[in-house]
């Protein structure tokens, strides 16, 4: 019962999220009636996903047959959930698909393409003017944070490389690495010549 309750809560939250993208629900409706089973191999867990016009239905015990079954370890499933490139992970060797994989690939594409219109959802609660002010401030703060972070990174690199001379610059380091590579190569050749002088080869019999 606890598992069912957790799944019901997760389903509720997920469907609220899906509603923020106006195109997700009509695309999920086209997958209506399909049953996608996800079987986690380590640890052993099972989840059934049933897309419909209202979002996704999640079930732990589904008695009917699944159209597509995905077998994967938990690590791959977590990567699948977090990554934007879901289809690439589905083609990785530790992941096994059975049945109609088109359903699962279509679901993965829908989740990849999600563009959540959080401003619309916020405007339902705060109204258009407050949302505009909040969104404007948030965008400004995000831009300012990005610029500040880039500036900080540059200043730190300048200080460590030029002023304190704690670290060398990238170009200088690359030149030294190239010199070390040349030296290593020359040393290898020298070693080979010394070995040849120390153990002269016996004359070959060409007869």
């Amino acid at each position: 019962m606890l598992g069912t309750a957790l799944l019901a809560s997760a389903e509720h939250a997920l469907n609220r999220l899906l509603r923020l993208d106006g195109t997700a629900q009509p695309r999920l409706a086209r997958l209506g009636g399909r049953v996608i089973a996800v079987r986690c191999t380590a640890p052993e867990l099972a989840l059934h996903i049933l897309p419909n016009a209202d979002g996704l239905r999640l079930a732990s015990h589904w008695q009917g047959e699944a159209d597509c079954t995905l077998h994967a370890p938990a690590a791959s499933l977590l990567r699948l959930a977090a990554s934007r490139q879901k289809t690439a992970i589905l083609h990785s060797p530790e992941v096994r698909l059975e049945g109609d994989s088109a359903s699962l690939l279509a679901l993965a594409e829908i989740l990849e393409d999600l563009e959540l219109d959080w401003e619309y959802e916020l405007s339902r609660w705060l109204g258009p003017v407050a949302t505009q002010l909040f969104a404007g401030s948030l965008q400004h703060a995000t831009r300012w944070s990005g610029q500040s972070l880039a500036s900080l990174r540059q200043d730190l690199a300048d200080y460590l490389g030029e002023e304190s001379s704690t670290l060398v610059g990238r170009h200088e380091a690359e030149a030294r690495f190239a010199e070390v590579d040349d030296l290593r190569l020359a040393l290898d050749r020298l070693e080979a010549r010394l070995a040849r002088l120390a153990h002269p080869q016996e004359p070959r019999d060409n007869a």
């Binding site: 019962m1 069912t4 009636g33 049933l50 419909n52 732990s60």
Partner: protein
């Protein structure tokens, strides 16, 4: 010559909660209960079960294995909780029939489903579970959630459900049952006979209906007895799942 008084005395009785009433009166008495509580039925379900009834019904849907294009009969469907979810699962090519013997419950269910935009693949039928007005071998799945204990002749109802199911079709009976733990049973008794009538009085101004609910649960067959009744009616591979410590059980049987 027929003596009408003798005829009345000879009429078999059945239980209505803890009372014994003539069989012909039980349906009328149950109808009065549901006419009284219909308007606040959903609210009371949430209050009395702490929202757990949603999880019990969710598990029922999972075990039904309903697919697109299926035909589903939701007996005693009441306010349409199961019907709404079945409607999504069967899609436009399927059909869900919400049947209830009580016109008030059926009306509340119909209005609620229409308000939620559930239409097109749902039909509403006022029907008695003992004499279902549907052809033989018609439905893929039949469910009855919290309804069987109110039926006067449960064996007749189970046989009627078997008749309308297609071979291979599933019957799911979700009903209150007997707690598997004695301590939980005592706590549940105290809750049922003290809190439930009080909540009924405060919310619907009707303590008697909720006293009947508590009593009817105690009079309902336990898990094994109901399983035996389903086997007796002709179902195969009958299993049951206890939920919330056996307070509720979900029985499942297949038509051979």
């Amino acid at each position: 010559m027929n003596d009408p008084r003798k005829g009345r005395e000879a009429e078999p009785t059945t239980h209505f909660g803890y009372q014994n009433v003539p069989e012909s009166q039980k349906a009328q008495k149950v109808a009065e209960v549901f006419h009284s509580v219909a308007a606040k039925y959903d609210l009371m379900n949430d209050v009395l079960s702490g929202g757990l009834h949603r999880l019990w019904k969710r598990f029922t849907i999972e075990l039904s294995g309903v697919r697109r294009g299926n035909r589903v009969l939701d007996i005693a469907g009441g306010t349409g909780d199961l019907t709404r979810q079945f409607s999504r699962l069967v899609g436009e090519s399927g059909e869900v029939v919400l049947a209830d013997i009580n016109s008030s419950m059926l009306k509340v269910g119909r209005d609620r489903l229409l308000d939620k935009g559930v239409a097109g693949n749902v039909r509403f039928v006022q029907a008695d579970a003992e004499k279902l007005p549907f052809p033989d071998n018609h439905f893929d799945v039949v469910t009855i959630a919290f309804g069987l204990r109110n039926v006067t002749h449960k064996e007749d109802a189970l046989r009627s459900m078997l008749r309308v199911l297609k071979p291979g079709g599933r019957l799911l009976v979700l009903e209150f049952s007997k707690p598997s733990n004695a301590l939980l049973g005592k706590a549940y008794d105290a809750y049922s006979f003290a809190f439930m009538p009080l909540a009924g009085k405060l919310i619907t101004n009707d303590a008697d209906s909720y006293r009947y609910l508590a009593e009817s649960i105690r009079m309902h067959p336990n898990q094994e007895t109901l399983k035996g009744m389903m086997v007796e009616a002709g179902f195969e591979r009958v299993t049951y799942h206890n939920m919330t410590g056996g307070i509720v059980a979900l029985h499942r049987g297949l038509k051979p």
